[in-house]
């Protein structure tokens, strides 16, 4: 559970969703808390290519995230590294390191099922813990400490 997994059903075909995820026009349209928040988006969409997105948060501070594309399988899958760029104020613990972001696009009747996985850590240990699963007791424990 050292990762965030979110699933969305989008009423758009996979190629359109894929384009929204991998073009500067697309990213600029949604990658911020509100309209006009994305200041710049540069993406070199190929394995080994890098990306850099600069955006403004609702509190007015500017942040920049950057990384490299690790795997690309249009229009089904994109895997990239992710980190907050230098000079971009890290907010809290855990923001300084490199994490891993994955998008999986599955065609469905109504459009696309998009799965986003943001894995916090890229150590071997974290990969093991991710596959072994956490079980109900620990989930409960973690919910206790969330408050």
């Amino acid at each position: 559970m050292n990762q965030v997994t979110l699933v969305r059903r989008i009423g758009a075909r996979p190629s359109i969703v894929f384009e929204a995820l991998t073009t500067s026009e697309g990213i600029s349209s949604w990658f911020g808390p509100d309209d006009g928040a994305v200041l710049s988006a540069a993406l070199d969409v190929r394995v080994g290519g890098s990306y850099r997105i600069r955006f403004r948060r609702t509190d007015g501070t500017e942040h920049e995230c950057t990384g490299q594309f690790l795997e690309i399988e249009a229009p089904r899958r994109i895997v990239m590294s992710w980190q907050w760029a230098c000079g971009s104020p890290p907010e809290e613990e855990g923001d300084e390191h490199v994490s891993r972001l994955e998008y999986h696009l599955r065609p469905i009747d109504t459009g696309t099922e998009l799965t986003l996985i943001h894995a916090g850590l890229r150590t071997e240990a974290s990969a093991r813990s991710h596959t072994s699963g956490w079980g109900g007791a620990l989930d409960k424990l973690m919910r206790m400490f969330a408050h």
């Binding site: 969305r8 949604w30 990658f31 240990a125 973690m142 969330a146």
Partner: protein, 118 residues
């Protein structure tokens, strides 16, 4: 360059990666005042192995061990776990907003494509 905070969160997640250690933490969350031998009782592995797990948990600050006379009692120390939970919640919020906006954008593009007979 080594960053202390980064390594600490890494090590917390790593410590939590073991099912025996998770079971130990879950038990400590339910019961207070457990000694090391109390904790070891339900497990099939022997006491020294359990103590090794406790070492790992203590090292990342998830538990505190206190010696009282000849007994060592073990307590849960929630702060590192809270850091891990905080990280997950922050990024969940971060992505939820964006996925909402992505959905609206993509659906609009889909309508445009269909209007153009694509």
């Amino acid at each position: 360059m080594v960053n202390n905070q980064t390594n600490r969160l890494d090590r917390v997640f790593s410590a939590l990666g073991d099912p025996t250690r998770r079971a130990i933490l879950a038990r400590l969350a339910r019961e207070e005042g457990l000694s090391v031998s109390d904790l070891a009782a339900p497990f099939e592995i022997k006491l020294p192995a359990v103590m090794k797990h406790l070492d790992v948990l203590a090292e990342v600050g998830l538990i505190r061990r206190t010696k009282r006379g000849r007994t060592v009692t073990v307590e849960l120390s929630p702060r590192p776990l809270k850091s891990a939970v905080d990280w997950l919640q922050r990024y969940e919020r971060f992505w939820e907003t964006r996925l909402d906006r992505l959905t609206r954008y993509a659906e609009r593009k889909e309508r445009e494509a269909q209007d153009q007979g694509e």
